[in-house]
């Protein structure tokens, strides 16, 4: 059974139609990459799936782990195993990373994590991400650099072990070393039971992560799906070529 199945999804924000019919199926053990130009609706897709209040689902459906995704509140989606690594993670003054991780873990797993084991687990992941332990005592994302914020997102992913992790432009704002550390961690977190959906607008990260599927999203629609070779095609031709293909589709 698939982890996520999206069917003819259309959405609006501020009265503007953004997603114009998305179909997507993600199965356990798969890594998907969605690529597309700026403004194509990539981040919107991530936000709609997570349940961002500014986006409205107009039609279509999504089944996540056998449940109707759009019937669930944001926290229920998280508890069901959906995770979003934010493009711009919020700063929350006064709430420490440690406190936040523990609270989330408790909510998602349903039990208070064992202190010793939890600490060890967090420490291990932080080492893997090349993060200083002192971040645990800092306020959530407050004063973090772009790279630190992204690492903190992946740390949360590692601690919460979701069924499906959506990484929304996690590569943006990272230097080369950080990209490597982050995506090697992501690759390590991939198992045969979970799945990862990577959203990016360029294919630099494909040096570090090996997707099973690549989708091209242009103007609110997935215009082409394929394997890794599709990414190469983008690199050679740019998105312009795919934009034309939507026009053709539109005319047909």
């Amino acid at each position: 059974m698939s982890i996520l199945k999206v069917n003819a999804l259309r959405s609006t924000a501020d009265g503007q139609e953004i997603l114009k019919g998305i179909d997507l199926e993600i199965n356990p053990g798969e890594i998907h990459v969605i690529m597309g130009p700026n403004g194509a609706g990539k981040s919107t897709l991530a936000n709609v799936l997570m349940g961002h209040p500014a986006h409205e689902v107009v039609s279509g459906e999504a089944i996540f782990g056998g449940k109707v995704l759009f019937d669930m509140k944001v926290d229920e989606r998280a508890k069901a195993g959906l995770f979003l690594s934010f493009q711009y993670p919020q700063e929350v003054p006064g709430v420490t990373v440690d406190n936040f991780l523990r609270t989330s873990k408790k909510e998602i797993s349903g039990i208070m994590p064992m202190l010793g084991a939890f600490k060890k687990d967090v420490k291990q992941h932080m080492e893997m991400l090349d993060m200083d332990q002192k971040y645990l005592e800092r306020y959530l994302n407050l004063g973090f650099s772009g790279g630190e914020k992204k690492k903190n997102e992946i740390l949360q992913m590692a601690v919460l072990s979701p069924k499906l992790a959506i990484l929304d432009e996690t590569d943006s704002g990272l230097d080369v070393d950080a990209i490597r550390v982050v995506y090697e961690t992501v690759q390590k977190l991939a198992t045969k039971d979970n799945a990862i959906l990577v959203i990016t607008h360029y294919n630099k990260i494909l040096n570090y992560i090996k997707p099973d599927f690549v989708h091209i999203l242009v103007d609110g629609k997935i215009v082409k799906s394929g394997d890794l070779s599709l990414a190469t095609e983008v690199e050679e031709k740019g998105y312009e070529a795919f934009k034309k293909s939507t026009d053709v589709n539109g005319a047909a």
Partner: protein, 467 residues
């Protein structure tokens, strides 16, 4: 519109437990010369004090009510009982304190805190202090910590040059009232060079219905000495008005440091019209930590007068105004000497129709050079039936100053809630987390038991407001 459910009033638990009234002496309601004389006689005071009271009464009668800030038109001072002496003398052992009074303080956690983390405790019940004690090693160092009545008699020479010199009975109507009917409070004297390691704490409990509490706190921290003083206040809720018009006078001498922490959780029938002032000598430091949660109406602006060169002040305050509350709070700093510095951090939360008003004054007097000050005010509104106002007045003479001020008003951002919810945290818990985070810079300055209490209070207040 978002549907919200509101709780009628917060169950404040232990704070609202009312004891049966058992008094040795209760003054008549209202204010007359006879009542003042009677209070003074009852207290067996020196004559100068009685004369001071009578003079204050005259001033009180002439002074108008303040025309700004809170609406005090409903306050009926004539109907307040100004003096209620509980049926006990001051004790130095909890075992000697009458059972019901002792239980009250037990519930508030005072004796336990005393055993754990305090160097001394004073407990006032209605108009008089019922318990006072201080660790022996401090006594040996010459530290005095006692109730004001005792102090007036035993340390008259120490008290007289300071008593109501910083806050005079001519300052405003309620300082005059205080001068006339003051009773109870604590006196602390820390001799030169003595650093008191653990805090002293005075707790003020007003149990009597329709009464006023007018305690006077006087603290002198001598040269290079150090003290942390904690003041706690609470009262059970009645349907009639109670009035609190205390006065706090703090004298911080050269090189001395005083931290004065207050957690005020009066019941919501209380008019809290308190006056607090400190004067800081050369290189001395005053630190105010102030939490205002209770009362129906508050007007409270602790003032720091930086009189000596190099003196400094820090104010950290949180005000939480909920249903039926108008909390007008802030701080005043006067830079009267060169090389003085001040930091003001104020936060407020208003919800459920509450009105939080930050009112501040930052003044740099002529001739004060190299003055630095940073003022930061943040207000959080939890709904649009509440109000939040910020008026920080900045008044500067001279040019060798460096003043920065920032103020922000807003609500919890939807994006932040979304972010926390995306990690499995419910909407209610996400909001509570953000509010707790908002006040965190204040809570971390509070003594632990108060920090815990503040977080519980926030949980209580937020419960049922999110639907």
């Amino acid at each position: 519109m978002e549907k919200k459910t509101y709780v009628a009033d917060v169950d404040r638990g232990v704070y609202d437990i009312i004891n049966t009234e058992d008094h040795r002496f209760v003054s008549d309601k209202g204010l007359t010369e006879d009542i003042i004389r009677e209070i003074s006689r009852e207290k067996k005071e020196p004559e100068w004090m009685m004369n001071f009271r009578l003079e204050s009464l005259e001033i009180y009668k002439k002074k108008p009510l303040p025309t700004w800030g809170a609406d005090l038109s409903e306050l009926d001072v004539e109907n307040i009982v100004h003096y209620v002496r509980p049926n006990t003398d001051m004790q130095t052992s909890w075992d000697d304190v009458p059972e019901d009074i002792k239980n009250t303080f037990e519930r508030l956690g005072i004796p336990e805190a005393e055993r754990k983390s305090l160097a001394g405790v004073g407990a006032q019940y209605d108009s008089e202090v019922v318990y006072h004690s201080i660790r022996k090693e401090l006594v040996d160092l010459g530290v005095i910590y006692t109730d004001m009545d005792t102090a007036i008699k035993e340390y008259e020479h120490l008290i007289k040059p300071y008593f109501m010199k910083l806050i005079t009975n001519r300052d405003h109507k309620f300082s005059a009232l205080h001068g006339a009917v003051w009773s109870g409070g604590s006196f602390v004297y820390v001799p030169e060079g003595v650093e008191v390691e653990f805090p002293l704490q005075s707790y003020f409990r007003l149990n009597a219905k329709g009464a006023g509490q007018f305690e006077h706190t006087l603290i002198i921290v001598e040269k290079n000495a150090k003290l942390h003083f904690i003041e706690g206040c609470s009262a059970p809720k009645y349907s009639v008005q109670n009035l609190h018009a205390g006065a706090v006078e703090l004298f911080v001498k050269e090189g001395a440091t005083l931290r004065y922490s207050t957690i005020e959780n009066w019941s919501r029938n209380m008019y809290n019209l308190n006056t607090k002032r400190s004067v800081v000598e050369k290189n001395g430091k005053i630190e105010w930590v102030s939490g205002s949660f209770g009362s129906k109406v508050s007007m409270l602006y602790p003032m720091s007068i930086l009189k000596g060169e190099g003196a400094s002040s820090e104010f950290t305050g949180i005000t939480f105004a909920s249903k039926g509350q108008y909390l007008d709070t802030g701080t005043k700093v006067v830079h009267a000497a060169s090389n003085t510095s001040s930091v003001i951090n104020s936060k407020s939360i208003s919800k459920d129709g509450g009105h939080a008003f930050y009112r501040g004054l930052l003044k740099v007097a002529k001739g004060a050079k190299n003055v630095k000050s940073m003022v930061n005010c943040e207000s959080l509104m939890l709904d649009n039936r509440s109000k939040s106002d910020t008026v920080p007045i900045i008044d500067i003479q001279g040019d060798l100053v460096d003043i920065g001020h920032e103020a922000k008003i807003g609500r919890i951002s939807d994006e932040t809630i979304f972010y926390l919810m995306s990690r499995g945290i419910s909407e209610a818990e996400a909001k509570a987390m953000i509010v707790r985070g908002f006040v965190e810079p204040i809570t971390k300055e509070l003594p632990l038991e108060y920090a815990v209490e503040l977080n519980q209070l926030i949980n209580l207040e937020l419960e049922g407001t999110i639907g």
